[in-house]
Amino acid sequence: MDGQMPVSNIMGWPDQKAAGQPIEEESPIDDEALVESLRSGDPGAPARFFDAYGRYVERLLVRVLGPDPDLEDLLHDVFAEALGNIEQLRDPTRLKGWLTRMTVFIARGMLRRRRRHGWLAFVPDEELPLMPSPSTPPEARDLLNRVFAVLQRLRPNHRIAFSLRYIEGMTLPEAAEASGVSLATFKRWLKASNRAFMSSAQRIDRALYEELLNTPRWGSLP
């Protein structure tokens, strides 16, 4: 690991747990009123809908897919689907959960298509994921790429389970709801994802694998 910041160092940064928690929108959203205005054809409603949930949906997609050249199209797809199906939402107070399921559904579809066409896993030069910002250490970007290189080898359902539970920081019931499966099924997926992640890391990223095994180096772990 000479010359490259160990995962343990990066993971020692403060507020690491909070990072995975949902970022609350700046102002409370009246979902019922929003849905009503969408259904009534209020021309300003789609913009308000996107302003309310655009960041949240984008974050979910980033959690599941990582640095991905198709994020913009997928974000568009989620809102286009949601706007087109708003009449099917039975309980307007559950708008966010409905949108979450739709986002996960669309992300899963993308992962499945990619898995069928393995060549799509490679991105063109000009679409290589760039540094998130000049202030982001390259080591952090490296970590991101390494983790998603491992996740890329997982089955879509397992990858989604891992991303929602560990990266987005959802509780098990929340993640099961978002995935559209029972809690028991989600737990099975998660267990399988844990095994698959370690197995893949062992094969393709020995350093990450050993860091995960070597918990004392992380210091703060129980």
Binding site: G20, R59, D77, G109, D142, V147, T215
Partner: protein, 435 residues
């Protein structure tokens, strides 16, 4: 174990959150939604079928935008021969069995479907469109503009266009793909077909029984890919790898490029493995392991399926991977970046990983991502401050910041360069930055 994953996931999320601070992507999507552009992909499931309410709501949005913001440019539209102008997406356009059918676009581009061909317009943008060729042949003429973004999807193949005329064919039953370029050039990629440029006079054919067969390139066509010299074409296959004694897997770093050499491929080396030129007599295609052992990187890239290539990538040693990346760059193969990234993942902390950072910096520089390029050069310098590529990386860092328009950092990089290499090949550039 789950606690460990929670820690790891939380850190990944923290890094990701930095990307989310940039609202560029959201702003672009918001604009697309309010402009009424339909999604770029076809419906994914009947579970989310569009409804009349959606059409009504979006029509109202479009109307409001037109009234309130009349100067907003609209996506282009198209007119199928004998029909009215339209922006309908994913509607099947079929040519009759006994005749062709034309589609004219408002940006001046045109598509002619051969008899029995079927196509759909998947996306309409201000700068172009995406056409899906479901079957048959189409002759496409795209009007070139600086911002043109046109593409044609034919089965799993993607043809990207900025301005050209070409014929494309797709037969789904035979999984047969054909492309012939009449004017300009296009980029094409598909399964077992690494992304490449196809120029005027060249053809690409691919089906399960035949592989890519580009015709000889006209000599007067200007080479559009920088850093691409003396490229071996996929057929006839040509050995491009390096010669390493058998049983010597140790990594040898690439030669230090001088500024004049810096545009050359990173591992175009004169020697050839005499064994590599001897093709197997068997009809069986060689395995990835055979090709890797032979260091036949060109064949690895052009003849293997994605899964086999991935296996090779995860089994190759560092030197092989760097050579594979170099071969990919020489071939104009878009997977070079992924290969170098694999070097950094698999061999983190080694000289090879540091060199991969340098090479990624060069790639990003030439793709115009100067700030990201600078980050990779800095990564190299941090990991190997006295490495054999350190002087070149330090000089490239000055260039990268200069091109990125970051005067302060260019100034700082130039000062550091001159302190360490006052007579180095980038000294002149560094002094000019400081003036």
């Amino acid at each position: 174990m789950s606690k460990r994953f929670e820690k790891l996931g939380a850190e990944v999320a923290r890094v990701q959150d930095e990307t989310l601070a940039d609202g560029t992507r959201r702003a672009a999507v918001r604009r697309r939604l309010l402009l009424g552009e339909s999604r770029s992909s076809p419906p994914r499931s009947s579970r989310w079928e569009p409804t009349l309410a959606w059409v009504g709501a979006m029509a109202a949005v479009v109307l409001a935008v037109v009234v309130l913001w009349p100067s907003v440019p609209e996506p282009i539209a198209y007119r199928v021969e004998g029909e009215a102008e339209s922006r309908l997406l994913d509607r099947e356009i079929a040519a009759p069995n006994d005749g062709a059918r034309s589609i004219a676009f408002t940006d001046g581009s045109a598509v002619r479907l051969s008899p029995s061909a079927r196509a759909r317009v998947r996306q309409l943008r201000i700068e172009g469109a995406t056409l899906v060729l479901d079957r048959g042949e189409a002759t496409v003429s795209v009007q070139h503009r600086d911002t043109t973004k046109w593409s044609v999807e034919a089965g799993p193949f993607l043809v990207r266009v900025t301005g050209t005329r070409f014929r494309v064919g797709w037969q789904p039953e035979a999984e047969s793909f054909e492309l012939e370029v009449f004017e300009g050039e296009v980029r094409v990629r598909g399964p077992s077909l690494p992304e490449r440029t196809v120029r005027r006079g060249q053809e690409v054919r691919q089906n399960p029984a035949a592989t890519v067969e580009p015709k000889p390139e006209p000599p007067q066509v200007e080479e559009p890919i920088r850093e691409r010299t003396a490229l071996p074409e996929p057929h006839p296959r040509k050995q491009t790898g390096t010669v390493t004694p058998a049983g010597a897997p140790s990594y040898e770093p690439p030669a230090v490029p001088t500024p004049s050499e810096a545009e050359a491929p990173e591992s175009t080396r004169p020697e050839q493995d005499p064994e590599a030129s001897a093709k197997p007599s068997s009809a069986e295609p060689p395995s990835w392991k055979t090709l890797l052992d032979r260091r036949d990187y060109s064949a690895l890239l052009t003849e293997l399926g994605p899964e086999q290539l991935e296996q090779a990538i995860w089994q190759a040693d560092a030197a092989q991977l760097l050579d594979l990346g170099a071969a990919a760059r020489e071939l104009g193969d878009a997977r070079a970046g992924s290969i170098y990234t694999a070097v950094r993942s698999r061999f983190s902390g080694t000289d090879a990983a540091a060199d991969a950072a340098f090479l990624l910096g060069r790639m990003q520089f030439h793709s115009g991502a100067h700030r990201s390029s600078a980050t990779w050069f800095e990564t190299y310098l941090r990991e190997r401050p006295d490495g054999r590529l350190a002087r070149e990386a330090a000089g490239r860092l000055v260039e990268a910041y200069q091109h990125a328009g970051d005067t302060d950092r260019a100034h700082e990089a130039a000062e550091q360069y001159l302190r360490r290499y006052p007579n180095g090949p980038h000294a002149g550039l560094a002094r000019s930055v400081l003036q």
